[in-house]
Symmetry: C2
Subunit: 242 residues, 2 copies
């Protein structure tokens, strides 16, 4: 089967201002790779309804899955649910199933489900809820768009909740070789090897560490035998590598 | 004056596969904020010429500046320079000024400027070079697109090289208040304050640390007096904050 594709949309002024460093993209990238879904693009946009709407529409049309993070809390700057509903042409209001989840959570905590917290029960019509085992307020899936929280521990729990529901392709396999020679020295034989083996993807990543500078070669394919064959050819090309 | 806008384009399969965690976006975000340029969007795309070209065209048309990172080394997977040239409708070939920079560097190092390394002298017609004090191979600016290396230490040096050449607006000022109450408890008064003060941006960021859960409120504006005034109002609303 064809490997499904995905895009991520990170939503939040705090990422673009440099106040906060996003970690959700890196987490999702790793989880999707293991699951056999290819993350093909990621975007970061501000807390701006028009920007969120147009990014969701572009990514939803372009890829099999879209994953968003951020902007689904109780405060005035949490506008993701409404912007995604608008993007997908769905009505949105407080939904009884989401309200029941929140009511049970705040009852257990002895806290009030006030008007602000009820905002987190605004879920587009037709969406299914994504479980939040940390703080109850659910994410949701509408069409091919999965809307999740920005707080990393909650985002990661939501990814764990939905991943088993998604159909992945054969996982991407990779092996790497560390060569203590600069990229400029390995580029010619490496380029020839890559041209001879279009069935694998060969990446080249320079490193400079503790005064040593060299190149990490990464060979990737869904076909383990193809990766093995190219790794063998690399070992013959660079017999001094380790 | 209007605050100039910027977008970033991170280029590299290794970011999307989860192998490498990007740090350049966070660095650029901070540098632009200090310089009075607003980072309005960021994208991550694969080492794919069509994807790079269409992202560069969209971002170049949409924002005052575009900053790219990654894909300008000597190996077969370094395709950014050619893809950016195609996006901007410029011819590209080995340029004498870039070749001279590389020749001087490899002469000093006693290494050969071979065919692979000469790829790094491929610069679009009409572009100006961006200095690389670490490993010589230059970045370049064509139109409003600034093309830089992916290796963080080199990316950061290139950002430092070009930032003084860009005209920023008044820098964005921010102050923050830490409140040991959940977002759901502060949301209503905070939303009202935000509605009363459209001249500032008020962000709300939940935290959970060492068993304490609370909310960081961040007030941002180019007008320092407006930030001060809203911080005063916040202190009156939440007298127990610290």
């Amino acid at each position: 089967m064809q490997t499904p594709t995905a895009a991520m949309l990170v939503i939040g002024d705090e990422i673009l201002s440099g106040r906060t460093r996003d970690s959700n993209m890196h987490h999702l990238a790793g989880a999707l790779t293991v699951h056999g879904i290819r993350l093909a693009e990621a975007r970061v946009v501000a807390d701006d309804p028009a920007q969120i709407k147009s990014a969701v529409q572009a990514l939803s049309a372009g890829y099999d899955h879209v994953f968003t993070s951020g902007g689904i809390g109780p405060t005035h700057d949490d506008i993701t649910a409404d912007a995604v509903a608008a993007a997908m042409g769905a009505a949105i209001d407080i939904r009884d199933d989401a309200r029941a989840v929140l009511q049970a959570h705040y009852d257990r905590q002895g806290q009030e489900l006030n008007t602000a917290r009820l905002r987190m029960a605004r879920i587009p019509e037709g969406a299914s809820l994504i479980d939040n085992p940390i703080s109850a307020a659910p994410g949701f899936t509408i069409g091919n768009v999965h809307v999740m929280a920005g707080v990393p521990v909650i985002f990661e729990a939501m990814v764990a909740s939905i991943m088993p529901t998604l159909t992945g392709g054969p996982p991407m396999l990779s092996q790497s070789l560390r060569i203590v020679r600069g990229e400029g020295d390995v580029a010619a034989p490496l380029g020839q090897l890559a041209a001879e083996h279009p069935e694998v993807s060969i990446g080249s990543y320079p490193f400079h560490r503790d005064g040593v500078h060299g190149t990490n070669i990464v060979v990737r394919s869904q076909d383990g035998a193809a990766v093995d064959a190219v790794m063998g050819a690399l070992a013959r090309l660079f017999p001094d590598a380790g």
